[in-house]
Symmetry: D2
Subunit: 345 residues, 4 copies
């Protein structure tokens, strides 16, 4: 079935499968001590124009958020996130399971506004009682956000400046970073992200890999014995090559950006198509996820042909759904959606 349900409906980019096959019988060291991991790390450092970057590979997004946050916070600290941040809502309490509170600030289209962050921190330190409260110990932003929206370079810098005033790190969740960087609305590169943030991750799972996220510490700030911490949290793969080969492939000849760019082109067509058919937007994003409102009966009909993702009820008769493109979306997918939408009326 044609599906726009998410950006993780297909397997891996074919080039990745080829490389896995080509290298399959080579005997290499375990636990990420292989040459593919090494090479992938070097390529990521180069792409980020940050030769001192410290890179580690993890398996999935929730795991990555949980480990980075737990490894950087002290016991008495929590992480500031938008109230719609993935760590606040859809990670089943992974941050709290690690012992830390998620301190929420208001969001606007999924983003934290610098003024909100500043207000939170000022209010916290103004409270005479703050010794009995959770100290804000880092800031979490997702880019693109859960709503597909993007920070501008100026906004991200302002957030970073506030963080540095309070001496807390800025962490960027880049589960869909490729789609963010290749958006026509983007004014940032890997190098900008690396310069501005203290730590971020480059999402593989949603941008062409079978699994895998590349964590990048940009200020020589990787916690001591981080690999042992990763092992302790059950996140160190025996066959680390699985991650190394994937990221090595994605960062060869800019495959990562190239496939993200394809997804963005598909998303532009998708948006045009939705507009043409008069489907009202709940949120039109500059990246690969679009949120639109369907009349319930129409939605029921559509779903017989096209996979889309329930987001939330809009009112009694309408539903917000998400349609996502990805590296695997084809022109045929778009054409089939066109047909299905035409038939709706």
């Amino acid at each position: 079935m044609i599906s726009f349900e998410s950006d993780y409906i297909a397997g891996a980019h074919p080039r990745i499968l080829e490389r896995l096959a080509e290298t399959n019988m080579e005997a290499v060291s375990g636990y990420g001590m292989d040459s593919y991991c090494t090479r992938a790390k070097e390529k990521i450092c180069a792409a980020c124009d940050c030769k001192d970057a410290q890179v580690e590979f993890l398996v999935g997004g929730t795991q990555t958020n949980a480990l980075i946050i737990a490894s950087l916070l002290r016991a008495y600290e929590g992480v500031i996130a938008a109230e719609t941040g993935h760590v606040s809502t859809h990670e089943a309490g992974a941050i709290e399971a690690g012992g830390h509170k998620v301190l929420t600030v208001p969001q606007k289209e999924g983003k934290i506004e610098p003024a909100s962050l500043k207000a939170y921190l000022e209010t916290f330190y103004a409270d005479e009682n703050h010794e009995h409260m959770v100290f804000p110990g880092m800031v979490y932003v997702s880019h693109p956000t859960e709503y597909g929206t993007l920070y501008t370079k100026k906004e991200l810098r302002e957030l970073a400046d506030i963080c540095h005033t309070y001496e807390i790190p800025l962490y960027l969740d880049g589960a869909r970073l490729g789609y963010g960087l290749m958006s026509t609305a983007s004014d940032m590169t890997f190098a900008d992200i690396a310069r501005i943030c203290d730590v971020f991750y480059i999402g593989g799972t949603k941008v062409g890999a079978l699994c895998g996220e590349a964590v990048v510490f940009t200020k020589k700030n990787m916690p001591k014995h981080f690999r042992t911490f990763v092992k302790q949290r059950g996140a160190l793969l025996a066959k680390g090559r699985l991650l190394g080969i994937q990221f090595d492939t994605l960062f060869t000849d800019e495959l990562y950006l190239q496939i993200a760019s394809h997804a963005i082109q598909m998303a532009e067509q998708l948006k045009a198509l939705l507009h043409e058919n008069g489907i009202p937007f709940f949120l039109e994003s500059p990246t690969n996820q679009q949120f639109v409102i369907f009349e319930n009966k129409q939605l029921e009909q559509l779903q017989k042909q096209i996979g889309v993702s329930f987001w939330e009820a809009y009112d009694e008769n309408h539903t917000v759904v998400r349609l996502a493109t990805s590296w695997s979306t084809t022109q045929n997918d778009i054409d089939e959606l066109r047909k299905a939408l035409t038939e709706l009326a």
Copy 2:
């Protein structure tokens, strides 16, 4: 280079890579709700002759141990393990990071003797002070053990009987279960393991998969909302298909047992070869791992041609090393080792 370093030096069994490629562009649901996971679970239930078994897929061994143990223990309980058990020694404190103590009992060739377990439990409950101690809440055994040794069906049943007397579950870590089942010394099948143990896992990573372990709860005892717990601990793959397809493949036409059997045949040749060359055994096991003692200079020479794994210093001039075969070991590997050993003298 030829390597007997471990059973995770190569990628995946070629049939797995083929299946990943064949299914790659199919759009399927995320988080393990795809048909490959469903089918793999059904096949595992069938192989275990346990139609009510509850199966979930996880990514790696330490993660699996940590999650099963934390999900089954209450706060005031710990897990009993051999002092050489993987959870006791080489998981960087993963069990303790989950809040629980590993309660160690003596080992014999890596195994817990039923009498040791019984003595531990009797002593615990005899202690008037035990309300201030960690309650033994489950028993962990590995099969094969970290030393490649095996429990007999009788021994495993005795351990299970003791567990049931004290109303605590018996958990079997089957990271290398295939190699155990296909050993000529084995008197157990999947069905025996499933009947005797309350929960166990079938190791994929070390038996032909890129990654992945299949957890089997055999007594309808999977903790409520286990998937949410898995998500919370960062262990739920967005592309659950990666695990489903691998286990579906491994449990089609008994591939899992067939490739394990090959490793055992290679191990038998390996043992013969070591004996022929007069290399003294530190521990000769009935499975795929062998532990031998090399004179240090010889070892240095050998390692130029053949990868082996440092285990521990034996004395000033000798070292214990591990040689492991696996599904990927070839006749050529054995032949090259033969040559290298001959050249040692």
Copy 3:
């Protein structure tokens, strides 16, 4: 100095100190296995008209909240609380340190409205994605609340009914329970609280004890081996008598309610006094805490003579402060405050 800063500014009710002195040289068993603890528990069961109640003594409020919540929740669950609940804001992340999220709902004068609770639970289970979210596992209310307000019996019953529909326990934090029960606005007794709630605690620290809170499980629902859990969390006193003697004293001849009643009488005088002097109320409560707004210069002058507690900034020129009475407030304290207020103008 005269102080209305809090209800824990003085030591213990003199009768408690007398009993500590009278019993001081008796040799008794440790860890709460003494006859004073036993007797105190019996008296609390009687006061609650709940002969099966299971009572344990803990040392302080944050500890009590943390232990009860952690002992009743499963790993994948969180606790619902008002966004102004003590566990949400002023316990330095104690609940999260125990691995659980505090799920906040809107508050009205510090209370959770039954409709808000119902809406939260309905919305949670309506979300198709809730398997990736923190399950609501219990409800926390404080009574009196952090603002000194009270639930009516009808409101508390409605909350309990909703909890039972969803099969989650209702937990009442009674740090200031005595002041709540003796308020003229109260329509509940200990027995009502015990009948309606699944677990609650009777606060000692703020109602005449040096330290100590009495936890009451009312439905034979005390978690198994709770004492071992208490020991594990560092909350089991070697000299458990310290808590037993205090609660035995407080529950002899209704001392607990009697001294709480005195505090309420003092609070009524306090409120009258504030009204007479035209001090605007931020929140006028039916219990022992009152929240008023002072002009900053007046406040500065007042604080030279009378201790009050900063609550929050109201605007540039005004501040919200809390004044609390307690079992230790004297007529002289009130008279001195009268003088000080008169001098303000």
Copy 4:
């Protein structure tokens, strides 16, 4: 009944009760911000001849061990302790509940021998696999030990030297420190302990207080925002005065050492008495706890008159029991024991 069961059978030293009564109605700040806490801290600094010592008061021993260890260790570290250490055996897994493994080394009469510690650390770092193991992050010793034995200054220095070589702190659990310092076998003072150890605590509960332990960080190494951490772990008393007044009293006119000295004199009489009556020692200690072996029938008879503490079964017909003196032991207690022992034969 006469009891030698433990050193926490009685209430508090009468001087403490007097001071609690004298200061009872003073209005003071909460959470340890009162003048009694301040003064007690100053006196402790003076007693330790360490003007930069950072002192905080906690409530009990397990709580203190759990908090100090969790606050000083990093996630990937564990604490080294003797296999008989209190944290290893009788704290219900408090250290593991905080996420850390207790790494046990052999003991001799409850003590860690410097050579054992050195061997442990050398072996750990020699293991090529140690990145997958729990890093030793601090050393825990108790002084007196659980068996009443004492380290010499030389031994403690050697342990400290080894710790400093490996850059890990040495922590001394002084639950019974007074009895250690006043033993005739002791060659150390508070000042020696403070100079040699990185952190230790002065036990109050077992040396005359109702409750309370004074933590002393000696190298300006108190973790940042330690008070918030204490609050988070439920260990911050609202009425901090309860601890401040007790330690202020104990450190006025050397009351702490004076009452400990009394206990030691009683212990010397106790030992003589046991020898006179031919009761064999399991372990004769230089402090206030003695371990002797009774024939079971004699023990049964004795316990009708005198409280003693079961330690462990010796053989089928004999039992090891502990007899402890304390600040509250009287000459009459000794005389009654003499009578009871005489009647045994």
